[in-house]
Amino acid sequence: METTRRDFLMVGTKLLVMTAATAAAFEHVVAGTPEAVTTYSTAEHWWAMLIDIEKCIGGGHCVRACKTENGVLDEPMYFRTWVERYHVNMSDPDHPIVDSPDGGINGFTEKYADGDGKTFFVPKLCNHCADSPCTQVCPVGATFRTNDGVVLIDKDYCVGCRYCVQACPYGCRYLDPRTHTADKCTLCYHRLTKGLVPACVEVCPTGARQIADLKNPNDPAHEFLRTHKIQVLKPQMATGAKVYYNGLDGAVR
C-alpha cells in the first residue's frame, strides 16, 4: 500500500511539472513575435524640459493646451502642468507668498503693486526624474521611467493606491476620479514619439518652455544649458529631476 501511494505521488508530481512546462511553452508560442518596431527608438533619446522663468508671462496657455491635448479634467486641482505666482517681500524673503488661481489657467489678475518686493511666475510639471521616488514606491509596477527618460503610468496596472501621489516631492501627481488611477504629465509622449513637441511647448507664446533631447547632439538645449545658470527644483532630494529652470529664485519651493 505504501509503495503505491508513493508511486501515485511521484507520477502525479511528474504530470504536474509537465503540464506547467507545456503551459508556459504554449504561452510563448501564442504570444508570437513582438509588435513591429516603429522608427522611434527609446535608446536614441533622453528627454528633458527647459523652463526660462525670465520669459514666462503667466498667460496660462500651457495649462489650457495641456488639458485639451491630454483630456485632463476641467475642475481645478487636476493639473498635469500649472503656473504658480511667487511674490517675495524683501523684508521676509524666506516666506514667499505663492498663489495659483485655478492653476493659472486663465492667467493672473494684478495683485501686487510695482516696487513692492518681486513677483514672478513659475510653471511646474512632472520633473521626469531619472531616479524618481514615485516609481520606486509603486507596489505593482504600474509606473516607471522609460529608457528615453520619461516617467509614465500603466493605467491597466495601476490599482489607485496613491503611494506615488504622496511620494512625489513636487506634487505632480493626482488620482483621476474617472478611472481611479494615478495621472500626471507624460511629456506628451504620444507627440514626442511622432516627432512633435509637447502641447505646452507648442503654444507657449514667449518660448519660456522648451523640450530638450539631451541625446541629440544638435539639440539647441545643449547651448542653452551651457550658457545659462541652471537649477532644478529641490536638488537636495536627489531625484535626478530633468526640468531645468533658468532664473529660478531661491524662494521657489
Binding site: Y112, D154, K155, H190, P205
Partner: protein, 154 residues
C-alpha cells in the same frame, strides 16, 4: 524502524502539497502576467505603446504652414512670428486633417490681454498696456492686426 518510516511518510505528503502549490503558482503566473512584463524593467513594456497611442489635439505649426503660408508670411516681419498658430487659434488637428472642420473665431481682446495686460509678475521686456488708459478699452483689432500688430507697417 517501522515507526520511523511512518514518520517519514507524512513529510512526503506535505512535500507533495507544497510542490503542487508551487506549480499552481507557476501556472497562474504564466497565465496572468503578460509576456512583456519585465522586458525593460519592473513594468509592462506594452504600457509605453499604450501611452504613445493617445490621439493628439494640436497639429503643430508645421502642419498649419502647409496650407496657410500667407498668414505665416504676414507675421514674418513682426514679433508675433515666433508664436505658434494654435496659441491663439486653439487646438486644430481636426481642421488640419479635414479642412471642412470649422475653425472657431479667436477670442479677440481677452486673448490679447492675456499676454499684454500689465501685471507686476510679467518680465519687464514683455510689452504690456493698461487697456483703460491705452485705448479706453476699445477693441485691439481696430488699430492692430493680430498677425502683424506693428503700427508703423505699410
Amino acid at each position: 524502524m517501522r515507526g520511523s518510516f511512518r514518520d517519514f511518510e507524512h513529510l512526503i505528503r506535505l512535500a507533495g502539497i507544497f510542490v503542487a502549490g508551487l506549480l499552481l503558482f507557476a501556472v497562474a503566473r504564466a497565465e496572468f502576467v503578460p509576456d512583456d512584463f519585465g522586458k525593460y524593467g519592473h513594468y509592462r513594456a506594452g504600457a509605453i505603446a499604450d501611452v504613445a497611442a493617445r490621439p493628439m489635439a494640436y497639429a503643430g505649426r508645421a502642419r498649419c504652414t502647409e496650407c496657410h503660408e500667407d498668414e505665416v508670411n504676414e507675421a514674418a516681419p513682426a514679433k508675433h512670428k515666433v508664436i505658434s498658430c494654435e496659441t491663439c487659434h486653439g487646438a486644430l488637428l481636426k481642421h488640419a486633417d479635414d479642412p471642412a472642420v470649422d475653425v472657431p473665431k479667436a477670442d479677440g481682446q481677452a486673448l490679447c490681454l492675456r499676454c499684454h495686460a500689465a501685471n507686476t509678475g510679467k518680465p519687464t521686456h514683455q510689452p504690456t498696456i493698461v487697456a483703460k488708459e491705452h485705448s479706453d478699452e476699445d477693441s485691439c483689432v481696430s488699430c492692430h492686426k493680430p498677425h502683424d500688430p506693428r503700427m508703423d507697417q505699410e
